[in-house]
Amino acid sequence: MQALDILLTASFWVAAIRIASPLIFATMGELICERAGVLNLGIEGVMTVGAFAGWFTVYSGGDLWTGVAVAAVSGALFGLLHALLTVPLGLSQHVVGIGITLLATSLTYFTYRLVLPEVTSPPKIEPFAPLPIPGLSQIPILGEALFSQTPLTYLAFASVAVVAWVLYRTPLGLAMRAAGENPSAVEAQGISVSGIRIGAVMAGSALMAVGGAFLTMSAFNSFFFEMINGRGWICIALVVFGSWRPGKALIGAILFAAFDAYQVRLQQLTGGVVPYQIFLMMPYVLSILALVLVARRATYPRALMIPYQKGER
C-alpha cells in the first residue's frame, strides 16, 4: 500500500514536474527539428552546452535570465553547425548528430577545465527560486505540483503551447510541417526548404540547450561532468512516443518523469533489497519500451532524414 500512497503526495508530483521540465524543453526542440525533416542527434551535446553556458553565465556574475539566453544562443550556434552540414550538404544526420554531440560535450569540458582548472567540487550558483502562483498553488496536489515551480518550469510549459501554436496555426508552421513531409511542396511554393530546415534546427537546438540549462539553474545548482546522462536520447524516444505532436509529447514527458520520480521513492522504500542500479536503469528501459510500444503505428514525418536538393522530386 505504501508504494501506492506515494502517488497521492504532493511532493511526489512536484518532483515529477520538476524532472519533466528539462525533458519538455528538449523534447520540443527535437520535435521541431524532426517535424522539419532533420533528426538531431546533437541533442545530448547541445544540452551539455546549455547546462554549462547557463550555469557559467550566472557563476561569472550574470543574471539568471541572461544565463538562459546565453544557453539558448550557444545551443542555436551548435544547431547552425549541425544544420549546415546536414541540410545544404546533406550529410548523414546520424553521423553528424553524433559528431555534434561529441564536439559539443568535449568543447564544454575543455572550457570548464580552462576556466576552473583547480576546482575539485563544482561551485554552486544561486538558482531560480520557486515562484508559487498565488491562489492556484493552493489547490491540493495538482495545484501544488503545477504552480509552485520555478519560472523555468512555467517556461517549459509555455514552450509547448508556443510550439503547438507555431506548428498548427501559423504560415511558418505550415512550411515546417511540409518540409518534413514533402519538401518539394515547400519549394514549389517559393519557400526555401534549406531556410526552413536550418531555422528549425537552430530553434530546436536553442530549446534543447535551455533544457540543459534547467538542470544547472533550476535543479542541481552546479555543473558537473556527464550530468545530462542520456536525457537527450530519452527525449528522442519521447518524440517518437508522442507521435511528433507537442501535446502528446508533453504527456509522454510527464508520464516518464512520474515514473522516474516514482522509482526514486520506491528505491528508498525497498531499502536496498533490490540493487539500486535496477532502479537507475528504469528510465532507459522505459524509453526502449516506449519505442517498441509505438513502433507499429509510428508515422514518421515522411522526409525525416532525407536530405533535399533543389529541383529534386
Binding site: 542527434l41 553547425l81 552540414l85 545544404p88 550538404l89 546533406g90 550529410l91 548523414s92 546520424h94 553521423v95 553528424v96 553524433i98 559528431g99 555534434i100 561529441l102 564536439l103 560535450t105 568535449s106 568543447l107 569540458y109 575543455f110 577545465r113 580552462l114 582548472p117 546522462n229 542520456g230 536520447w233 530519452i234 528522442i236 524516444a237 517518437v240 540493487p275 542500479q277 535496477i278 537507475l280 536503469m281 532507459y284 528501459v285 524509453s287 526502449i288 519505442l291 517498441v292 513502433a295 507499429r296 509510428a298 536538393q309 533543389k310 529541383g311
Partner: protein, 349 residues
C-alpha cells in the same frame, strides 16, 4: 547550391581531402590552445612527442590504439551496412564481463585453450547484445541509434550492479571491481615489462580478416549492397534482414573483443572505468578511415596518439587534456565533409 557526382579520381586527389580535414582540425585546435594562453606550435610538438617521441610513448600509443581498432572495426562494419551501431561501448563492457566470468577461475584450463574460448564467448556476448536492437530495427522499425545509445547506459548500470554483487572482488576493499583473471586467461605482453600486449596483434589480425570479408567475400558484398541501397538489394534477392543480422553479430562481436583484450591483456580485472569512451571514439576512428578496415588501424593509432600525446602535454603545458576529445570530434565532422567533397562537386547556383 547543388551537389553533383564527380568521376572517380586518382589516389592522390582522393587523399587530398582527408589531409585537408586534418589541417582544419589542427587549425581549430590551435585556436583553442591560443585561448588557453599557450603556444600552439609548442603544444603540438609536446603532443607529438608524447605520442611518438620515445619507445615508451610509441608503445603507449599502440596500447591505447588496441581497443580503438576493435571498436573502430565494429563501427566500420556496421556503418557499411548502414546499421547505426552506436552501442560499441556497451558491447565492449559485455565482452569484459564475459572475460571475467570465464577467466577468473571458472574454467581451469591451459592458456592455449582458455584464451580462444574466452574470446569467442566475449564475441558471442557482444553479438547477442547488438542482436536485440537489430531485431527491433528489422522487425518493428525501431531506430537502432536510440536503442543502442540507451543500451550503453543500461549495460553500464548492469556492470556496476555485477561489480557490487556477484562479480565483486572480496579482497577489493569495497571498490566496485572484479577479481583478477587467472594467469592462463591473460594475454601475454609482446615485450617483457612493457604494457603492449598480444591484444594488439589480435586487433591487427581482426582488421585484416574484416578487410578480407568486406572486399573478397559474398557477405561483404551483400553488406555493402544493403548499406548503399537496401531496396535494390532486396529486389536483387539479397536477404536484407539476414544480412543486417550477420552484420550486427560481426559488429557486436568485434566491439566485445575490445573488452576482452583490455581485461585479459591490460587491466586484468573489470572496473567501471574500463573504457573512457572507446565505443564512441570508435565511431570517429571508423569515419576517419572512411570505413576501410585497414584504414581503421591507422586511424586508431592516430586517434590514440592524440589522446596519449594530449595527456602528456597537459601535464607539462597546462592545456586541458580534453583538447584531445575536441580534436577527435572535430576530425569526425571535417572528415565527413571531406569525404563528401571528394565524391561530389559543389556548384554554387
Amino acid at each position: 547550391m547543388r551537389l553533383e557526382p564527380k568521376p572517380a579520381q586518382s589516389l592522390a586527389a582522393t587523399l587530398l581531402y582527408p589531409v585537408g580535414a586534418i589541417v582544419v582540425t589542427l587549425g581549430f585546435a590551435a585556436l583553442l590552445v591560443l585561448a588557453a594562453g599557450a603556444d600552439p606550435l609548442s603544444v603540438f610538438t609536446l603532443v607529438a612527442r608524447g605520442a611518438a617521441g620515445s619507445q615508451f610513448a610509441l608503445l603507449e600509443t599502440l596500447t591505447r590504439a588496441t581497443p580503438l581498432i576493435f571498436t573502430g572495426l565494429a563501427v566500420a562494419v556496421a556503418f557499411r551496412a548502414k546499421l547505426w551501431n552506436i552501442g560499441a561501448e556497451a558491447q565492449l563492457y559485455i565482452g569484459g564481463v564475459a572475460t571475467v566470468v570465464l577467466g577468473t577461475g571458472l574454467l581451469p584450463w591451459p592458456s592455449w585453450l582458455l584464451l580462444p574460448i574466452i574470446a569467442v564467448a566475449a564475441m558471442l556476448a557482444g553479438a547477442l547484445l547488438l542482436l536485440g536492437p537489430a531485431l527491433l530495427k528489422t522487425r518493428l522499425g525501431v531506430d537502432e541509434v536510440v536503442t543502442t545509445l540507451l543500451l550503453n547506459f543500461i549495460v553500464l548500470l548492469f556492470v556496476s550492479m555485477l561489480l557490487e554483487g556477484v562479480l565483486k572482488d572480496p579482497t577489493g576493499l569495497g571498490w566496485p571491481q572484479s577479481r583478477k583473471v587467472i594467469e592462463a586467461a591473460q594475454l601475454p605482453r609482446i615485450i617483457q615489462g612493457k604494457r603492449l600486449h598480444y591484444g594488439f596483434v589480435l586487433a591487427i589480425v581482426s582488421a585484416v580478416a574484416v578487410w578480407i570479408i568486406m572486399k573478397k567475400t559474398a557477405l561483404g558484398y551483400e553488406m555493402r549492397a544493403v548499406g548503399h541501397n537496401p531496396e535494390a538489394a532486396r529486389f536483387a534477392g539479397i536477404p536484407v534482414n539476414r544480412v543486417l543480422m550477420k552484420t550486427a553479430l560481426l559488429s557486436g562481436g568485434l566491439a566485445a573483443l575490445a573488452g576482452f583484450s583490455e581485461v585479459a591483456g591490460l587491466k586484468g580485472n573489470l572496473t567501471l572505468d574500463l573504457s573512457p569512451g572507446y565505443g564512441y571514439s570508435g565511431i570517429v576512428v571508423a569515419m576517419l578511415a572512411m570505413l576501410n578496415p585497414l584504414g581503421v588501424v591507422a586511424a586508431a593509432i592516430f586517434v590514440a596518439g592524440i589522446f596519449v600525446g594530449a595527456d602528456a602535454m597537459s601535464r607539462s603545458a597546462g592545456v586541458p587534456s580534453y583538447i584531445a576529445d575536441v580534436m577527435v570530434a572535430t576530425a569526425l565532422l571535417t572528415m565527413v565533409v571531406a569525404i563528401l567533397l571528394s565524391r561530389f562537386r559543389v556548384r554554387w547556383r
